[in-house]
Symmetry: C2
Subunit: 377 residues, 2 copies
Amino acid sequence: MTAFSYQLNAREKQARAGTLQTPHGTVHTPVFMPVGTHSAVRTLTWPQVAETGAEIVLSNSYHLYLRPGHELVERAGGLHGWMNWQKPILTDSGGFQVFSLAKHRDITPEGVHFKDVVDGSKHFMGPKESMRIQNALGADIIMAFDECPPGAAEYKYAKESLEITNRWLEICFEHHSRPLDQALFPIVQGSVYEDLRTQSVEFVSQFPAHGFAIGGVSVGETKMQMNQVVSFTAPLLPPDKPRYLMGVGTPEDLLEGIKHGIDMFDCVMPTRVARHGSFFTPYGKKIIRNAEYKEDFAPLVEDCGCYTCRNHSRAYLRHIYRMGETTAATLISIHNIYSLVELAKEARRQILAGTFERFYMQAMARLGMVGNGAPTH
Amino acid sequence: MTAFSYQLNAREKQARAGTLQTPHGTVHTPVFMPVGTHSAVRTLTWPQVAETGAEIVLSNSYHLYLRPGHELVERAGGLHGWMNWQKPILTDSGGFQVFSLAKHRDITPEGVHFKDVVDGSKHFMGPKESMRIQNALGADIIMAFDECPPGAAEYKYAKESLEITNRWLEICFEHHSRPLDQALFPIVQGSVYEDLRTQSVEFVSQFPAHGFAIGGVSVGETKMQMNQVVSFTAPLLPPDKPRYLMGVGTPEDLLEGIKHGIDMFDCVMPTRVARHGSFFTPYGKKIIRNAEYKEDFAPLVEDCGCYTCRNHSRAYLRHIYRMGETTAATLISIHNIYSLVELAKEARRQILAGTFERFYMQAMARLGMVGNGAPTH
């Protein structure tokens, strides 16, 4: 018996509310997943991550494979034991990082030879290796090893890349050794080309997967192109399985994705911008350093339920940020992650109530955006 | 009616267990006070500080006066409201920092002209100004503004400095505007000279203070000299008031101080060394980077009750520390602060049980120390 199941709880046009069962608990979708690249979410402890309301987190196979090594993590009881987060975890395949971070790549039909940029050591990773790594890491959801073309890829390159990705997907399913307690999600590729995206959806839909991802977005194409791809591709996917839009995104990306039927999101952005002092508001990102906050004893966002807003003022956060206290990064990261987690939860409530479309319009207007990701001003 | 009272609960030779009432709650002594220089304890949120068992924290008047300004803190409801820590707080006077951090000092009978090293701005701080600042910050315990000679001060310098400190103490008591809800502690000075320390104790004992501090230690003199000063000075102080040894210290410093009748300690060291990957153990400091911890799934210290030891392994902490995750500094800081807070609490339990002397010997032996701070090897 598999530990996975997905229930579609409600639908409003393309937008969906669902419930995903995993071996480590339930995930209510739409959902935002905070990222712990090196098996820690930047500047946070796990109780702080849990307090944001996060139900599932993401970690990176590429990084964990190189350091500390997937075998060490396995000996520690897998990622759940290693980092002591007992709720659901998703690992990516390493593919995206091999293509974006590694040096001296040499692609073969079996995978990619590459050099670690840190110590220059040589490595090989392909679909087989990725499965071995992800099976050792033991996340609830694992991802297919794909070739990820840049956003501005030529049609020919995108088509050949998709063929490699498809071949590798078969190898992934063949070598996935824990199908009962780890759900392997195929990844739809095809760059910005609708015929390739369609072919890709048709191909991946043949596999007995518990969910599907849309990859090759947020990799250099414009926001308009990205939204085009998402709005075109998502509705083609099997309606009875969750859909994950990889590496996305901002509050407006979440709203846009949810509108088009995406269920799962991840991004390092909330913690990355927090370290630079940016915090999310319903009206867009603001900068805590700004002089206007010097004597502002209001929270980052009025009525925000996050730990930071319930306990600290903009003036205090501005001061400790300026003093170089990393506690400021921690507190703003908590707020930013909470904002995205809560935005997804609010979208879910609106979908269940059948009021998402209106919520979407209002939230986008507040963010200064219109549909398709274009700013109103 | 004053909100302060001190009860001596038990005594074993010079070592004391006491209870100090303050407007923001009870402090059980001996006690270790974590330091939040800029109104935040480095890398921690306040619930994390509270979870270490800390009953009282320290913040620095000098830093808060310069940035964000004591008047802003006052408008935020004082330090308790500003940083949202509702338990007892102690502020130092700014004197030590004026003498150790500021540039272009010019000492007058009324105080010190100095330049801020950050922006070059000119300032003046003396006993009057320090009281105004500390009354605005609103900590439960505030400190007299003193002249703090370096550890290796000449006798003549130390004597003249003490005369200034004494004069300034009178001015502090005259200008302290909140004597009912802020306890002003005089500071015993006199460098390493016993006759000066004796004179200083006699002088400060005339004031209606709720506690007394020993200053001018851990400022460049040897550990032997420091322990000499403490063991000589502490027993001279009024027995019915708490005694605070400023800026101290390490686990062995705490044990040594407690043995000689010190009740309160503070130091930035537990968080500072944590950021460099050092963690306290009963056998001394260890370095988390060490290769020996690579596959070590034990906690930092077996049976340690801190959050970090209850939840994470040395191997995990080593990995995230090496990856540059500040979460590692957070987790090790939690452990280090807990270690000192808990050491003081354990000393209290041992004093109440009449077994402190034996505990002291065993703990010092484990740390590789003998009395007077000399290492055994």
